[in-house]
């Protein structure tokens, strides 16, 4: 029986689970396919409803993971094969080459400064650019650079300027075999691609963006240093609209996400308040079907948003967004709920709140692990009432948004992370006793 656990996914749920298990004396292998842990929470500016700085809450936990004697980080890595059963899993992990030696790199980023090549920055939702050799983001853990071989032109400058001699372009993919008693799946979510609904103009109109892109624009560590400017001309937008339920609550078969994603109403209000904090004289309007403001101080936050911040709420789901090609301004067509007539309203920037969908690659991972997914692609629970953290394979558990929209917010993910750790400990203790 192995007193070790493999945690797949280094977002806040996976991090919490790892820390709880590590503190309990388990050896934890925290695997993440990105070059840094942190997940979605690292991309956020502030959290709802307390408006705490997201990274300020997360970073200490990320650092703890990197320093904890019982936690081994395997970033830029993916689980490729799993054999065995509860108590005795053999997990093969493929580590992608960073072409930078993690142990030598000090995170000084001189390499990036000198690199001549740029590529879209995935962390910034492809709004800004990064270099071919780059630090994933300022607070990355592990604090080491990574080379994106596809964009790299092999000029060798990084190697020349690195004071620690950490660049190693001969690195090869490495397969590691881990032995663990249990596995925790914490793979989080991706965003639905709004261009599947062409009427909203995402992908065609420059000033129609997704909520995560807005988040990066508002964040001080983002591509604009936290200045809210609009993509087409860099002007500060004064009239901003949010459209809720883009893909969510949609029963059409080709959309495929009839569920409510559960956090978009909340984060839209949060983002609206954030915008008002950045630009006090801006006018923000949220177009919604229902305002789902449940639990944990949220109704109060919503009330403040209306009375204190003057955010407009219009109960109407828009049909179309059209663009004025000369200015890049947008017009939203909607039915005015008061006059019951079709109106259009002009905006500088339109933010779409897309459905939250299972992480890319879930079907393959599920097959590798042998677990089942539900019909939306989220992890299927063994018994959603009595065992809401167990997957359909004994010894494999899950936490966070990979379970689906049951997760209401960050504290829920943290709770589930801790609960999964307890579950793992319990199950392994039972196994040991038997």
């Amino acid at each position: 029986m192995q007193k070790a656990v493999v945690v797949i996914g280094g977002g806040v749920a996976g991090i919490q689970s790892s820390l709880d298990l590590a503190n309990r004396g388990f050896k934890v292998y925290l695997v993440d396919r990105n070059p840094s842990i942190g997940g979605r929470m690292a991309q956020l500016d502030k959290t709802f409803p307390t408006m705490d700085c997201s990274m300020c809450i997360l970073a200490p936990k990320m650092i703890e993971c990197s320093h904890h004697p019982n936690v081994q980080l395997l970033t830029y890595s993916e689980v490729k094969d799993v054999k065995g059963s509860v108590g005795d899993f053999k997990v093969k992990v493929l580590r992608k080459p960073r072409y930078v030696d993690e142990r030598k790199c000090t995170g000084c980023a001189i390499c990036s400064e000198n690199c001549p090549t740029e590529a879209p920055n995935e962390f910034d939702e492809n709004i800004g650019v990064r270099k071919a050799i780059y630090m994933p983001f300022p607070q990355a853990v592990p604090r080491a650079a990574v080379i994106d071989k596809e964009s790299c032109v092999e000029c060798g400058l990084c190697d020349k300027v690195c004071p620690a001699g950490a660049v190693n372009r001969e690195q090869k993919p490495e397969e590691v075999e881990l032995e663990s008693g249990a596995i925790v799946v914490a793979t989080g979510f991706d965003l639905f691609d709004p261009s599947v609904i062409p009427q909203y103009g995402y992908g065609r109109f420059k000033n129609v963006i997704s909520a995560m892109e807005l988040e990066r624009l508002l964040c001080a560590s983002g591509p604009t240093g936290g200045h809210l400017i609009r993509p087409s001309d860099g002007r500060i937008p004064r009239h901003i609209a949010f459209i809720q339920c883009v893909g969510s609550r949609d029963r059409r078969e080709w959309i495929g996400h009839p569920y409510c994603s559960s956090i978009c109403c909340k984060y839209a209000v949060k983002d609206a308040v954030l915008i008002k904090e950045h630009e006090a004289d801006s006018l923000v309007t949220i177009f919604y079907i229902d305002m789902r403001a449940f639990g944990r101080g949220f109704q109060e936050f919503l009330n403040r948003a209306k009375s204190e911040f003057g955010i407009g709420f219009i109960r109407s789901n828009p049909g179309e967004v059209s663009e004025d090609q000369r200015t890049g301004d947008l017009a939203i067509w909607f039915e005015d709920p008061v006059t019951r007539t079709v109106q259009n309203m002009r905006f500088d920037l339109v933010v779409l709140c897309p459905a939250l969908i299972p992480s890319k690659g879930m079907p393959e991972l599920a097959k590798t692990l042998g677990i089942e997914l539900d019909n939306y692609g989220f992890v299927r629970l063994e018994d959603s009432v009595r065992k809401p953290l167990d997957t359909t394979v004994p010894g494999i558990f899950c936490c966070g948004y990979c379970l689906g929209p049951k997760t209401g917010d960050i504290p829920d993910s943290i709770t589930q992370g801790s609960a999964t750790a307890a579950r793992v400990a319990e199950v392994l203790a039972d196994k040991e006793a038997s």
Binding site: P198, R252, E253, W254, S322, E323
Partner: protein, 291 residues
Amino acid sequence: MKYAFFAGCLIPAREPHYENSVQKIAPELGIELVRMEGANCCAPFSIQSLDYTSWLALAARNLSIAEEMGLNIVTLCNDCYESLLMTNTVLKEDKKTRDKVNKILADVGLEFKGKTDVKIFSDVLYEDVGLEKVKNAVKRPFNGLRVAVQPGCHLSKPKRLHSIQWMGGTALDELVEATGVKSIPYERKEACCGGPLRGVNDEVALHVAKQKLDSIKSADVGCIVTVCPFCYLELDMGQIELKRRTKEEYNLPVLNFAELLRLAMGMDLEDWEVRAHRIPITKILGMVEAK
């Protein structure tokens, strides 16, 4: 490729030049159109609005005739397409309704068996003939003439009935551009032309047509290309009617897709066909490359 040719009501009655163009280009593309003798009206939206069973029975009669001919149906009109396709789908899937309709058809000696498929002319060109063959048949292409393509609502909606996404996808543009024109995107491309209300509520129909025409005008094109005969009427005649009411002129020639293809394939339009267009199309005729 042989098909049961469902001509509908509008084209034979009001737009014989559309039918003529189709009859001229079909043999060049290997398409044989067999007349459906005795076929009745497809039962477009106006009839569907009156009574459900009457619609299904009338449409099913046409489908049964094609079944007896052992051929798939091809229509030229979007409304016929929608009516026959929907009926075909409903009756294939719903046994109870099928039995009810078949009891009525028995009175006229027919039975719906679900053995035929419904296609529209652009389906046939894109899927059965194939884009390559259509391109090869074009002998004198247009030289990048800017056109606004009007797909028409019933070509591709409801989406769940159709395998090719004519609207929102590139298929129709690819087909039209095979003639050498350039399909220009415009804001209200997917919107209705107002045609269905023609003769029912002309004022509203024209209002809706105006929205469409305004959008096309700002796209700066030389010609409108339609698939559906209702769209053709509404956008062609509609410009004359709008000029009478609002004094606004658009001067946008409207061509049916079949006519466009016919010109591009090297055939000239006859005088009576040219005159059938209310907005003059003479400048378009001069735009094909010299042979």
